[in-house]
């Protein structure tokens, strides 16, 4: 299976007090557990990204609990108010226990 590949868009810099928009996407099939295998007629087991978390300098700023109704290649957009420079860490958790992470730095002045 293709490896889940996270993609994140964070502005490189911002002014203190700015509310920035962060866009995230991870390539993942998001098997809902509702589909049937055409050959065997068996339900294909569920395998989705079930949680997404964004941390800034170690503090959780945004989190999403995800259910099978979220589309494949789950896209999540949210906002953060910037007060200081630092690093965002994004974490996606898979049903099978795999964890995908990526980080982005932002300079605030």
């Amino acid at each position: 299976m293709a490896k889940a590949k996270p993609r994140v868009k964070v502005p490189k810099k911002a002014s203190a007090g700015d509310i920035i928009t962060i866009k995230t996407l991870i390539s993942h099939k998001m098997e809902s557990g509702q589909r049937k295998d055409k050959k065997t007629g068996e339900l294909i087991p569920r395998k989705i990204i079930n949680n997404f978390k964004a941390e800034f300098n170690g503090q959780t700023v945004f989190e999403t609990a995800i259910q099978p109704a979220v589309s494949s290649n789950p896209y999540i957009q949210f906002k953060v108010k910037m007060m200081e420079s630092g690093e965002f860490k994004f974490t996606w958790t898979d049903d099978d226990g795999s964890v995908y992470t990526t980080s982005k730095k932002i300079a605030v002045n």
Binding site: F56, Q59, T60, F62, A69, I76, F78, V80, G97
Partner: protein
């Protein structure tokens, strides 16, 4: 029932996958639960106000596989007064839970977007939980031309 070698192997592999899945994952919205049950579990049956939540959905979704959904809640997002969580529920899906966004005081603005699957034409409900324990909701109807649940 006659089984050939290929089928036997296939069943075996499927069984192993099922057995290794964790028993319970994420917030427990059980299959077969209705949207009302899901909302009640979230609010504890509390009364919900309207007006603060703005839910943006297309009026008609040609493809139920990816329907853009945005939610925004009017709130100053300060330590005393902020939005804690927003739950999105799709009333006509086999499993009504969609996603729950958890905000923090660092969010600045309680808004988030994602793309969801819709099985058929239905109501989408967003319920916001405020820091003072009150709830706000908004409801939109989306017409779906082609459903997005593999059927």
């Amino acid at each position: 029932m006659k089984l050939n070698r290929r089928e036997v192997l296939g069943f075996g592999a499927a069984a192993v996958v099922v057995a290794t899945l964790p028993a319970s994952i994420g917030p427990a919205i059980a299959a077969g639960e209705t949207a009302d049950d899901a909302i009640k579990a979230f609010t504890g049956g509390a009364a919900m106000g309207e007006g603060a939540v703005k839910l943006t959905t297309p009026e008609i979704a040609e493809n139920g596989n990816t329907v853009p959904v945005s939610v925004k809640v009017d709130s100053p997002m300060t330590a005393d007064d902020h939005v804690q969580e927003v739950m999105i529920v799709a009333s006509g899906n086999p499993n009504p839970g969609v996603a729950t966004f958890k905000f923090s005081t660092m969010s600045g603005e309680a808004s988030a977007s994602t793309r969801i699957r819709l099985a058929k034409t239905q109501d989408i409900v967003a319920v916001a939980k405020m820091s003072d324990g009150s709830f706000q909701m908004a409801k939109n109807t989306v017409k779906v031309t082609i459903g997005g649940c593999g059927g």
